[in-house]
């Protein structure tokens, strides 16, 4: 059994699907953030797989490093916002944050 690009692509696709499912079904804001992390990891895995099997060079790994950097800053900002939301509402369930609805 030869492991090729298709295998890595399918792992990344399933990972992306699970992340998308998490983002769409969770109500907890931190749970939604976990789904976003899954999606980012799937994209990064795709970058590295394409670089290894198709493109060559190191551009894919450079992109992946930038993805990691952006994911870290995104997590820091999002968790700060989550903390403030918890202070105002005593809850971080996304369906209860409806003060702008009316």
């Amino acid at each position: 059994m030869q492991i090729g690009l298709v295998h890595y692509l399918s792992v990344a696709a399933v990972l992306f699907g699970l992340g998308l499912f998490t983002v769409m079904t969770r109500k907890n804001a931190v749970g939604i953030l976990l789904g976003v992390e899954l999606i980012l990891n799937a994209a990064a895995l795709n970058f590295v797989a394409f670089e290894h099997f198709v493109a060559g060079g190191v551009s894919g790994q450079v992109f992946t490093v930038f993805i990691i950097v952006l994911a870290a800053s995104e997590a820091a900002i999002a968790l700060a916002i989550v903390l403030q939301v918890y202070r105002s509402y005593r809850s971080i369930m996304a369906d209860r944050l409806t003060s702008l609805r009316n």
Binding site: M1, Q2, I3, G4, L5, V6, H7, L9, S10, V11, A13, V14, L15, F16, G17, L18, G19, L20, F21, T22, M24, T25, R26, K27, N28, V30, G31, L33, L34, G35, E37, L38, L45, V48, E51, H52, F53, V54, G57, V58, Q61, V62, V65, F66, I68, V69, L70, A71, A72, S73, E74, A76, I77, A80, I81, V82, L83, Q84, R87, D95
Partner: protein
């Protein structure tokens, strides 16, 4: 008899996807967060099988050491212990299933129908080449990334602090 590389790939892929399944389906937010550890470890292992050694180390250092700890802090600070049973409720299964299956169908069709070149390049350490790329071709994005990190750090501090009223403001 599958080769050693195939066995390693299958083990790492099942670790990654199994942990991701726990992240997506667990009822307890703590379990979801801790299962993310398995996903990050599996992805780091997959990076090693793709001869991206620097990325594997960075993945473990930044994600496991930084991001996951941050998320665990947020979970502990925002979940009340008494309603831990329902700390991660779900809604909207139907639409999510429909969208995810459509996306997976399209991705699977693209991945299998396109004739990708299938020969694997020989494994080699890529850290030195990555360093040269960062300080040569990608110098500007590299510096912009450091500015982004600084802005995110300052923004997180400003957003997360309590609004403290000083004595002269209360009067």
């Amino acid at each position: 008899m599958p080769s050693l590389g195939a066995i390693a790939f299958l083990a790492l892929a099942s670790l990654t996807l199994g942990s991701a399944g726990i992240v997506a389906f667990s009822k307890n937010i703590i379990y979801s967060t801790l299962a993310l550890l398995g996903t990050f470890m599996g992805i780091a292992g997959l990076y090693i099988t793709l001869s991206a050694d620097f990325l594997a180390a960075t993945q473990i250092l930044v994600y496991v050491g930084g991001t996951l700890t941050l998320i665990l802090f947020a979970v502990m600070l925002t979940s009340r212990i008494e309603d831990m049973k329902v700390s991660n409720p779900r809604a909207g299964f139907g639409a999510a299933f429909a969208l995810v299956s459509v996306v997976l169908l399209v991705l699977g069709k693209v991945a299998t129908a396109t004739p990708w070149p299938s020969e694997s390049k020989p494994p080699m350490p890529s850290t030195a080449k990555l360093g040269h790329a960062f300080l040569g071709e990608f110098l500007l994005p590299f510096e912009v990334a450091s500015v982004v990190l600084l802005a995110a750090m300052i923004g997180a501090v400003v957003l997360a602090r309590r609004a403290v009223k000083r004595a002269w403001e209360k009067e």
